[in-house]
């Protein structure tokens, strides 16, 4: 098993779909993210952003190439190991927050560890309550997800992604469904956790304002990385 120091290393990843008519969604993507980096992944629709995010998130497998997560080569891992790696190493923030509507904010935040371990212990509950307080939802933690506003739901989703202190958080257009104020609030929260906890964050976004707030912008086009530049703080 290969060992790398970086949080994320994408090494020559190719992804093709179809049997007869083969479509190449990713065409040899190389990408390295270091600890504590906040990077934006941009590109037009169909450029391969979601495909790349799914492969990095271990929800899909590359046709060729390798993905290292926190030093672990994920290429040869079986289904069970992929699930365990996903639970321990990654945090997800989706565009539509994707909270479980039947569950309260607190239960949603506890889900990743609860689902993996099978039980809730005092430590997990304390961590979930603490992070909900940190995202400003101390008084809403027993509200059902459906009884929260869009911005509040996305803050719960961020808390869920961060509760286990993952090495890498993958955010797929986390502000795409929010108004301007909520959008700024949510991104500010992500940047705060990135700075305070040193969590590496990869944000897929179309919003140049979000990209401008990141340390780095990676642009994807036709399945290739066409630009990878650092952002100078304003």
């Amino acid at each position: 098993m290969a060992e790398r120091e970086d949080v994320l290393v994408v090494d020559g990843v190719v992804k093709e779909y179809g049997d007869v008519m083969r479509t190449r969604a990713l065409d040899g993507v190389d990408l390295v993210l270091g600890r504590g980096e906040l990077a934006a992944l941009m590109g037009p629709s169909g450029s391969g952003k979601s495909t790349l995010l799914n492969i990095i998130g271990l929800l899909d497998r590359p046709t060729s190439g390798r993905v290292f997560l926190a030093g672990t080569d994920t290429t040869g891992l079986g289904e069970r190991e992929l699930t365990a790696t996903r639970a321990r190493t990654l945090g997800f923030v989706f565009q539509f927050h994707h909270l479980l509507p039947s569950f309260t904010a607190l239960e949603n935040v506890m889900l990743p560890a609860w689902g993996e371990r099978g039980r809730v212990d005092r430590e997990l509950r304390a961590a979930a309550e603490s992070i909900l307080e940190a995202v400003g939802l101390a008084d809403r933690m027993h509200y059902r997800a459906t009884n929260l506003s869009g911005g509040q739901q996305q803050r719960v989703a961020i808390a869920r992604a961060l509760v286990r202190r993952p090495a890498l958080v993958l955010a797929d257009e986390p502000t795409g469904n929010l108004d301007l104020a909520s959008s700024a609030e949510v991104f500010e929260l992500m940047r705060r956790f990135n700075r305070e906890l040193g969590t590496t964050v990869l944000v897929v976004t179309h919003d140049p304002r979000i990209a401008a707030g990141c340390d780095r912008v990676i642009e994807l086009e036709d399945g290739r990385v066409v630009a990878d530049r650092s952002v100078t703080p304003a």
Partner: protein, 406 residues
């Protein structure tokens, strides 16, 4: 609370309509199973009770007499002969006291009673009826058939010219307790006896013909001093009678007829009834299983995005499988408890509604703890098996596709 239980119970609480549908399917299925089993079980038990209430479980008799031709064919010679069946004489069982002791020691036999059974006529005035004279040892005979419980008049007193007769026979002779009868045995011996009791076993053939007297009196009527013609046995497990009969026949060299052989048609009828019951229950179980599976599959489809999220954030497949198995099992348990209660209630109502003129239930039902427990276990099993398909389907959802497409 374990994750699987929490999620399963939350899903069940939230999808109240689907939960109610599965609950209703299980409850109705178990109601049908419990009601049908109680009714058919009760009818069968009642039929067997009535049948065995008027006959021993096993009857030992001397082997039938068969003709033994003196001339026999050889490999080189052929003969023409006509052989007549031997008339069956009333014969005593050799060394019967030892046979009674030996039969009583066989595993499964709980009582053995010697008796004489012979044909005759009972005459009272102008009335004359064919009868079966049963000479019995009262104490031992009561262990085989407790006639005291079936007395409709008088007492069970036999011996010294006192007899007990069937209610139908008493009616045909116009006789009551205290009346005298003339009894003529097939051996040509006549005697006058006094009726001390009248019984009704509920079997017309018995009630219309039986005359119970003492063993000694019957020995005199049939010229069998010190002899008996039959030894009657009672066994602990009625459906083991045929097996024990073969064992007794092998050990004693006598003919052993079990109630199962004597009532072969009844048993065939009961068996057909049981087969029908099993068939109906099978189809009920299949219908319930399909109901549970289809409702849970709809639930999986509706919740596929949530399942995808759970998988994406690191929930292993086996926990997703358990979430749906728990739903199937819990609804199987709750539905079956309700169904068992409802089935029992319906069975009791039915038993109370339909009664014969004497007030006894025409359809006696048999409700046993075993029936309830087996129905509940069956429903839980069906719930788990039916939930297996949706559970596997849920666990195999691709998280990325499920999240994208919902």
């Amino acid at each position: 609370m374990p994750f699987e239980w929490f999620v399963a119970l939350r899903y069940m609480r939230d999808a109240r309509g689907q939960t109610a549908l599965i609950f209703a399917a299980v409850a109705v299925g178990v109601t049908v199973i419990v009601f049908l089993s109680a009714l058919i079980g009760g009818l069968q038990a009642s039929l067997i009770d009535k049948t065995l209430g008027s006959q021993p479980h096993i009857t030992l008799l001397v082997p039938r007499e068969v003709p033994r031709p003196l001339a026999a064919a050889t490999p080189t010679t052929a003969i023409a002969r006509a052989t007549q069946e031997s008339p069956q004489r009333l014969r005593s069982i050799d060394q019967w006291p030892e046979v009674v002791v030996a039969a009583g020691r066989i595993d499964g036999v709980i009582a053995a009673a010697p008796s004489i059974s012979g044909a005759g006529f009972a005459v009272r005035g102008e009335a004359r009826s064919p009868i079966v004279v049963r000479g019995v040892d009262p104490e031992r005979f009561l262990q085989i058939i407790d006639i005291r419980e079936r007395l409709v008049a008088g007492r069970f007193v036999v011996g010294g010219g006192d007899v007990v007769i069937g209610a139908q026979l008493a009616s045909e002779l116009g006789a009551a307790v205290g009346d005298k009868l003339r009894v003529s045995s097939s051996e040509g011996v006549d005697d006058v006896v006094t009726i001390r009791g009248i019984f009704s076993l509920g079997a017309r053939a018995v009630d219309a013909t039986w005359l119970l007297t003492s063993l000694r009196h019957a020995q005199a009527l049939y010229a069998l001093p010190g002899g008996v013609t039959t030894i009657e046995l009672k066994v602990a497990e009625v459906f083991a009678a045929e097996r024990i009969a073969r064992q007794v026949a092998g050990a004693t060299g006598l003919r052993a007829d079990s109630w199962m052989t004597v009532n072969a048609e009844l048993l065939a009828g009961l068996s057909a009834q049981s087969s029908s019951k099993w068939l109906i229950q099978f189809f009920v179980v299949v219908a319930v299983a399909l109901g549970i599976a289809s409702v849970l599959i709809v639930s999986v489809v509706q919740k596929s995005r949530e399942i995808g999220i759970l998988r994406a954030v690191g929930t292993p497949r086996r926990r997703i499988v358990l979430v749906f198995l728990i739903q199937g099992g819990v609804l199987g348990l709750i539905g079956s408890i309700a169904g068992a209660g409802l089935g029992a209630l319906l069975a009791k109502l039915f038993e109370g509604l339909v009664r014969d003129p004497g007030g006894a239930p025409r359809f006696p039902v048999q409700l046993t703890p075993a029936l309830f427990l087996s129905s509940i276990a069956l429903a839980i099993g069906v719930g788990l098996v039916a939930a297996m398909i949706p559970a596997r389907r849920a666990s195999r959802l691709d998280p990325a596709t499920a999240i994208r497409n919902g």
